[in-house]
């Protein structure tokens, strides 16, 4: 009988063990072990290719816009004699680009972004280039804003279903929590004042301080714009609770009919009271509307001077290369091009959407009535034996393994109703979309027979 060994854990681990990593490094808040990402792995291992691998997995879980690539290609080739657009010749030339690392960002580029954002909103709101803070993508913009608006253990209210990446982007390094605002199909998943109040109360009951509401408009994964009345209610709610309102509008240029989109900027446009305006912040990026996710261009537009100043300084951690800014400044200021691009892009997305929704309807599958984005919100609830998360994931697994389609289950978007799936349609050719629909038809046929 001996005394138990007392392992003395000295304050700096003086026993030559493996060196420690931080909580951030070992945390799984990055969420990459979830089904949302597991599907991607399956795709990586067996990717569909029209010629070389026609029975491979079709990636319908990535919201990427390739439908208007040809417009960009033509523009870049034509309007780019001797690479002048890239800044290799002439002034402002390479030298300025190479040395420029000011976190204010190139003025010409900010002006171009402001102008582009105004165009998308049909001129219904004005954007001041000095309120634009550049970040390396919208992911960085959302994280940056979260750092600025909330302290660790505070919360942001986010309506469900929401983009799965938010769990990581808003929470991982920031230590901030997400409290869901539950929405359901009874009213097309719109945010109601009751749902807002309930989410707020849930946070308060758990002694969590709410710092803001973050919405995506148009919504991901719903593929639908937020109604003007809802936006007004939201702002009203934020004013009453004295919290912030962040509107992630990265799909604003992907609304099929421009008139159906109301930006929070339009609501704020008519307000003079600074104490109301200064709680509103908009996130935008060129990844979806312009189909340039590889460029890593995002922006925070804030009506709050303090937030603009702070965000600018913090953007040192996520600057857009001056070369990229320079390249895009001339493209985005070319109003003739952008007007044409926006218009054609909308039409093509609308056509795609109609194709997929019609195709699904013929297979007996309904979708939420959408009007924007690169995806549709499909309802397979009727196929579930049990309307539970497990039931949904089982169905998702079948679709992945049997149909070889990677789509995103609603549970990964925190949807409170089971059986909904997000299906992306803009990251593939029309042929591929047809193949995907064919697979779904065949699956539904098989099911009907049994």
């Amino acid at each position: 009988m001996g005394l138990p060994l007392m392992m003395e854990r000295s304050s700096d681990n003086n026993n030559n063990n493996v060196v420690e990593l931080s909580r951030v490094a070992v945390s799984d808040t990055h969420g990459e072990d979830s089904p949302y990402f597991a599907g991607w792995k399956a795709y990586d291992e067996n990717p569909y290719d029209e010629t070389h691998n026609p029975s491979g997995v079709i990636q319908m879980g990535l919201a990427e816009n390739q439908v208007s690539f040809d417009l960009l290609e033509t523009y870049l080739e034509k309007k780019n004699p001797e690479g002048s657009m890239w800044g290799s010749k002439g002034a402002p030339g390479f030298r300025e680009n190479a040395l420029f690392q000011d976190y204010h960002g190139l003025k010409t580029f900010r002006q171009a972004m402001a102008s582009f954002m105004e165009q998308i909103r049909g001129g219904k709101a004005r954007f001041d280039p000095d309120r634009i803070v550049l970040t390396a993508g919208a992911t960085a913009a959302n994280e940056l804003l979260t750092f600025i608006l909330a302290d660790p253990n505070d919360a942001l209210l986010v309506p469900t279903p929401y983009y799965p990446g938010f769990d990581r982007d808003l929470r991982w390094r920031t230590g901030v929590k997400i409290v869901p605002i539950h929405c359901d199909s009874s009213n097309h998943f719109q945010i109601t004042p009751e749902a807002l109040e309930s989410a707020y109360q849930t946070a308060r009951d758990a002694n969590i301080r709410v710092r803001g509401v973050l919405i995506t408009n148009p919504s991901n994964p719903l593929g639908a714009t937020v109604q003007k009345k809802v936006l007004e209610d939201l702002l009203d709610f934020c004013v009453r609770k004295n919290i912030h309102l962040v509107s992630d509008e990265i799909y604003s240029g992907s609304v099929f009919h421009a008139s159906e989109f109301t930006s929070v900027a339009e609501i704020v446009e008519n307000i003079d009271d600074v104490s109301v305006k200064e709680r509103v912040h908009i996130v935008y990026s060129l990844s979806k509307d312009l189909g340039l996710p590889g460029f890593r261009v995002g922006t925070i537009y804030s009506y709050n001077d303090h937030v603009v100043r702070t965000a600018r300084r913090m953007s040192s951690f996520t600057l857009v290369s001056s070369q990229t800014q320079h390249m895009l400044a001339s493209m985005l200021s070319d109003v003739e091009f952008t007007e044409k691009y926006i218009r054609i892009n909308r039409e093509r997305l609308r056509t795609r959407y109609e194709t997929i929704v019609e195709g699904l309807k013929k297979a007996g599958i309904e979708c939420l009535k959408g009007n924007a984005g690169l995806f549709c919100w499909m309802n397979l609830g009727f196929l579930l034996e049990k309307k539970t998360k497990e039931g949904e994931l089982q169905l998702w697994d079948v679709i992945l393994k049997e149909l070889k389609l990677n789509i995103s289950p609603g549970s990964s978007c925190h949807c409170s109703e089971f059986g909904w799936f997000r299906v992306c349609f803009a990251n593939m050719s029309e042929n591929t979309l047809e193949i995907a629909l064919k697979r779904i038809h065949e699956f539904m046929d098989r099911r009907r027979r049994f």
């Binding site: 063990n17 060196v19 990427e64 390739q66 909330a150 189909g291 590889g294 890593r296």
Partner: protein
Amino acid sequence: MRLIVPLRGVIQGRGGLFVGSLIPCCLFYFLQLYLKRRRPPPSDPTELPRTSSLSNLFSRGNSIGRVRVSSRAVPVAKPSDSPYYIGLERVKTDPYDRITNTDGIMQLGLAESTLCFDLLQRWMSENLMDSIMQSDDGEFDISSIAMYKPFEGLLELRVAFADFMSRIMGGNVSFDPSNMVITAGGTPAMEVLAFCLADHGNAFLIPTPYYPGFDRDIKFRTGVELIPVHCRSSDNFTVTVSALEQALNQARKRGSKVSGILFSNPSNPVGNILSRETLHDILRFAQEKNIHVISDEIFAGSVYGDKEFVSMAEIAELGEFDKSRVHIIYGLSKDLSIPGFRAGLIYSFHEDVVNAAKKLMRFSSMSVPVQRILISLLSDVRFIEEYMKAHKQRIRDKHIRFVEGLKQLGIPCAESGGGLYCWVDMRSLLTSYSEKGELELFEKLLTVAKINATPGTACYCIEPGWFRCCFTALADEDIPVTMERIRQLAESSKS
């Protein structure tokens, strides 16, 4: 009845001290309890009553509370009180120009080189467009630059960087592309490593004097502290194990948990090249204490002295110590003069750190068109060799001129072998040998001599009187101008 009688007694002043005080206290307590129950549920003190419409709310002239930012955001927007930033801001208001503003402030506070710009410009004009627009079959394919690519950087870029780094670090060490994560500049590389290696409230030991930017890069959002390890002019400001030991012990006594050691090599602001022995000692120390080592080698290609540069990677590869504790930061802002491109990287021997950093790169990744340019640039071995040779030569020449000019004024510099600056001993110009005296000299340099040099205080140097002077943005003609201004200042301070 039972309650009322004693109450009456209290009111009438009878009942003694105990009853006289107890009963009113109890009553008061019960009154509060009663009122609390009646009060509406607790809510935000600034919450306003619900109204039916937004316009109604505003028209009623309600005073709406100002919405607040997080407490961690507050210090970020404050104007900096560090002379490092103050100096940089002042130059912006009145920058020296050889032709248009000969009385302007000479910028010696920014460690950037434009000495080989002509070479870079020529390469870009010949190759930039092709490097972005060309894909394998010669046709322009926008998907090669537009689409999502792995956030940690294209494999071809990591391969090109691995080769480049090996080349500029003397060819004695090879780098494995799978240990590498590409970042949008050295700043996020530093921050991401801090996030991965230390928790909020932990600390890194850092030899002084150190680059003032580290305060922001590390402390802003991670909450990691920097504990200075003071170095002295007697050692030419080289860190010693005994100083590290002392700093670590003091930290422990204070209850601080030290997660690692961070240092720059070549060092900034002194310009030391750390010897093989010193690097070895640092790694052994880290092994003994079971902490990390972060080597910021961003000036590795800007070595002009006789001493050869040795990367910490080389020491790690010796296999004597657990190399998973070794992490390196690199970037192209200094060696290749393209800070605007935002090209940096983390190189780590720890698989989990690489994996975590890869995932964190979604917040700071390099744009794909820029990656394509760099693949082309870094793989052009002939150009790189020509460039690096010229780069080192031109820094060396400039360094000699600058140091000689100061020597003529009786102002010595610390020994240095790398970087884009020198560590100047201006103790003879101090009116008092103190931090105050140094800051006064800084102010005089800025306003009278119109020179922005970074004072040692901004770099946490324990000995007053030292200034970092970056000379690589100076044309040869600017040097005598600078020296003359210093000479005049020296004369006036003598009188």
